[in-house]
């Protein structure tokens, strides 16, 4: 070993301790940074130089310490767990809020719901029957009939608006995925060249991991790490990002589509082919945006919004059919000239085309209300009495409505429970990753302390060697002087 070898060893110790303090400083500085993964100095002891031909004599000690790398203490398994839990939570969250939106449209149980309007409607028929010669109760009946149809059609329009909102949101999410994918590709390129040049890309990898988390929570998919430090992001089994190259996603159809139009996620360069998305907010949105059940006899196979709208249509048809079936038996009041009123007229009419919930209309005035049976006296009220009792039977519109409310309530409850479950799973995945990757201030303090002491000790080694050399150089050969 050369005379100055020990100085060199002490110097290596100083730099290693310094590096350790630097990394501890970086960790402490980023203790609260979202997505930061803690780092650690990887160091190893340097072996003694190999014994050469002329080295002879004494054994040689190692040559100090070497700083090998600054390691990022992430765990790809835990990262994967966070991504898949995020995808599930995103899916369940969108579904749950969509179903709660549908529930909000119902306004049940309450005084503004369709059930209250139905009861007012049936009561109004009885009130009209109590005073068949008066116009007031008939006006109130028309009012109740209109308020019922208004509620049906405004609920339908509410669903239509919700569909458009959800589609717009899904479209925004697709744009966000495309933007994030482009950034991931850019990071891939930078990280590859940084690593190839021997640099540390830890912070870049953190930033890229945040982006892949976001992609997963929006569109599901998987992430594959490559040996060169880049990652491939796969959505629906096909690559969204490979190294530095990126493909883009798009929603089919246009932003002006209305409820019932098919919506699917496609590759921009392969339009017409649906991507089977397995999770994420986009998949959740697509599942509630899907057209109604086909065939209609299999509820649950279609999108939640379109199916709810279909229920409103069926309810409107059922209501009109039930009321009209009785109303057609009746005779309209005589006209002003005394001509007998028409028989077999509908109460609720559905003209034109479009959804039944929007087309159902009550008569324009009291002349369209038949209270009496033909052949009975002018003030007969058999028809109105029979209609007022339509709400009580087992197949009544009231029961049908209650069934709709209950089934939507059950669906929404299920979706909320699923949301709770997946968000708990997401929280636990995040905790798991954070417990591995986050900075512990205590640990960093200990490491800071250790490195500080190591630095001081290395300086002491240097002083000791220096003093020894001083003795050797300045004091040797002065005996007896």
């Amino acid at each position: 070993m050369s005379t100055f070898g020990a100085l060199n060893t002490a110097y290596r110790g100083l730099t290693a301790a310094q590096q350790g303090m630097n990394v501890a400083g970086q960790n402490i500085a980023n203790a609260a940074t979202e997505g930061y993964t803690r780092q650690r100095v990887e160091q190893s002891s340097l072996a003694a130089p190999a014994r050469g031909l002329f080295s002879g004599g004494a054994l040689q000690v190692g040559q100090g310490v070497s700083v090998d790398a600054i390691a990022r203490l992430g765990n790809s398994f835990l990262d994967g767990g966070v991504r898949s839990a995020g995808a599930q939570a995103g899916y369940a969250g969108v579904r749950s809020s969509a179903l709660q939106g549908i529930e909000g449209v119902l306004q049940e149980p309450g005084d503004n719901g369709i059930s209250t309007a139905l009861q007012d409607f049936w009561s109004a028929w009885q009130a009209a029957a109590n005073q068949p010669s008066e116009d007031g109760p008939k006006g109130l009946l028309l009012n109740a009939a209109n308020s019922l149809t208004d509620k049906i059609s405004s609920a339908y329009q509410g669903l239509d608006a919700q569909w458009s909102r959800t589609r717009a949101q899904a479209s925004d999410n697709v744009d966000a995925v495309n933007a994030a994918a482009a950034q991931v590709a850019a990071y891939n390129t930078t990280i590859r060249s940084t690593l190839a040049a021997g640099g540390s890309a830890n912070e870049l990898i953190d930033a890229r991991a945040k982006l892949t988390d976001k992609i997963a929570s929006l569109a599901g998919g998987t992430v594959r790490e490559q040996p060169d430090g880049t990652v491939d992001v796969l959505v629906g089994g096909n690559a969204l990002v490979t190294g530095g190259s990126v493909r883009t996603l798009a929603l089919s159809g246009s932003s002006s589509d209305r409820m019932g139009a098919p919506v699917q996620l496609e590759w921009t360069d392969r339009s017409g082919l649906a991507i089977p998305v397995d999770g994420g907010e986009i998949a959740g949105a697509l599942s509630v945006l899907a057209p109604g059940a086909t065939p209609p006899s299999t509820p649950g196979s279609g999108g939640a919004i379109a199916e709810a709208a279909e229920k409103f249509n069926n309810f409107a048809v059922d209501l009109a059919t039930a009321v009209n079936r009785v109303h057609q038996k009746g005779q309209l009041p005589d006209d002003a000239l005394g001509n007998p009123g028409a028989v077999g007229q509908d109460f609720y009419t559905m003209n034109g085309s479009g959804p039944a919930a929007l087309r159902i209309k009550a008569p324009a005035d009291a002349a369209g209300i038949a209270l009496k049976l033909p052949g009975k006296g002018a003030l007969d009220t058999s028809v109105s009495d029979e209609i007022s009792q339509l709400g009580t039977g087992p197949g009544s519109p009231d029961k049908a409505w209650s069934g709709i409310v209950t089934s939507i309530g059950v669906q929404s409850r299920g979706a909320q429970q699923r949301e709770d479950l997946t968000s708990a799973a997401q929280a636990s995945a995040l905790t798991g990753r954070a417990s591995q990757a986050s900075v512990s201030l205590d640990e960093e303090n200990v490491s800071l302390l250790a490195n500080q002491h190591a630095y001081q000790a290395a300086a002491r080694v240097m002083t000791a060697v220096d003093e020894a050399l001083d003795v050797l150089i300045n004091r040797t050969g002065l005996v007896g002087r």
Partner: protein, 307 residues
């Protein structure tokens, strides 16, 4: 894997706990202010169905209550009309007995005949009585009166009776009020059955008697017919009394039902105040404990103990 605990995991866990406690607190606060057990169907789908059903039955019961009140006013009107008719018939019967007295001079008979004619007109106007603009005795007809006016007698001919009023309503129809999902009650009276129509009607009998008296005939043979007419009116009135008591029973049943449905609705939709307040207090304490624990836990680090 050993779970490593860091400042970040602790503060994240603390945040999550606080958030969960706070959202529970908010839920309970909403529940305590509205006292609503079900604010949306997904809170309890089964109870929602029950609530909708109870509300529907409650609304129907309220309408039945209004129908019963309305029916009662009809029956009261019919009853008072028939009460007047009974009084009039009583007088007619008295006069008939009085006229049967053989010692009565013709002038007295003429006076009785005139009184009978006046009482007959009273009967016709009673038969045409209305309630809220509608004939009580005309069934479902919208005719101006339940009985046509008929033709008055010619005063110059003592034997003339004129044409008796005839029933102008629609036969075999009735005014009914629905008092429950399964039951309707008739609230008018059948004018044709009570007063008769045209020839043979009570109007006809009385005017015949007046004519008989004017021409000096013995009217005692007509006493039986008067009795029958009287009985018809009394029968009509007793029938109305029966229906009135039926309506009264239905009214009290309906009120009870309404009260029990109201209680049922409250039970389904409303939360118990005491238990909600208890839950709220408990949750407040839980939240405060969570806050205090969080403040304790997040304070110290190793730095507090290093120089």
């Amino acid at each position: 894997m050993l779970n490593r605990v860091t400042n970040l995991t602790m503060s994240a866990a603390a945040q999550r706990t606080l958030q969960a406690q706070q959202s529970k607190l908010a839920q309970l606060q909403e529940k305590a202010t509205t006292l609503d057990k079900i604010s949306r169907p997904s809170d309890d789908p089964a109870a929602t169905a029950q609530a909708l059903d109870t509300r529907a039955r409650l609304a129907a019961t309220a309408q039945y209550g209004r129908n019963i009140d309305d029916g009662n006013s009809w029956l009261t009107a019919a009853d008072s009309a028939l009460e007047q008719a009974t009084n009039v018939m009583q007088k007619i019967k008295d006069l008939t007995v009085q006229a049967g007295n053989g010692s009565l001079p013709q002038s007295g008979k003429d006076a009785i005949a005139n009184e009978l004619t006046a009482l007959n007109q009273d009967l016709v106007s009673i038969g045409n009585s209305q309630h809220l603009g509608r004939n009580i005795f005309a069934g479902s007809s919208d005719a101006a009166g339940a009985f046509t006016p008929g033709t008055p007698r010619d005063p110059s001919i003592p034997a003339d009776t004129g044409t008796p009023p005839s029933f102008a309503g629609v036969a075999n129809t009735s005014v009914e009020r629905r008092i429950s999902a399964t039951e309707s009650v008739r609230v008018d009276a059948d004018g044709a059955a009570i007063f008769g129509s045209g020839a043979g009607s009570v109007f006809d009998i009385v005017s015949q008697m007046a004519a008989d008296l004017r021409t000096g005939k013995d009217i005692s043979p007509r006493l039986a017919a008067v009795d029958t007419a009287f009985k018809n009116i009394v029968n009509g009135r007793s029938e109305i009394g029966t229906r009135q008591s039926q309506l009264e029973r239905a009214g009290s049943v309906n009120t009870e039902l309404e009260a029990s449905l109201d209680a049922q609705k409250t039970g389904i939709e409303k939360a118990d105040l005491g238990s909600v307040i208890m839950d709220l207090k408990l949750q407040e304490t839980n939240y405060q404990v969570a806050l205090a624990a969080t403040a304790r836990v997040l304070q110290p680090t190793l730095m507090d103990f290093l120089r």
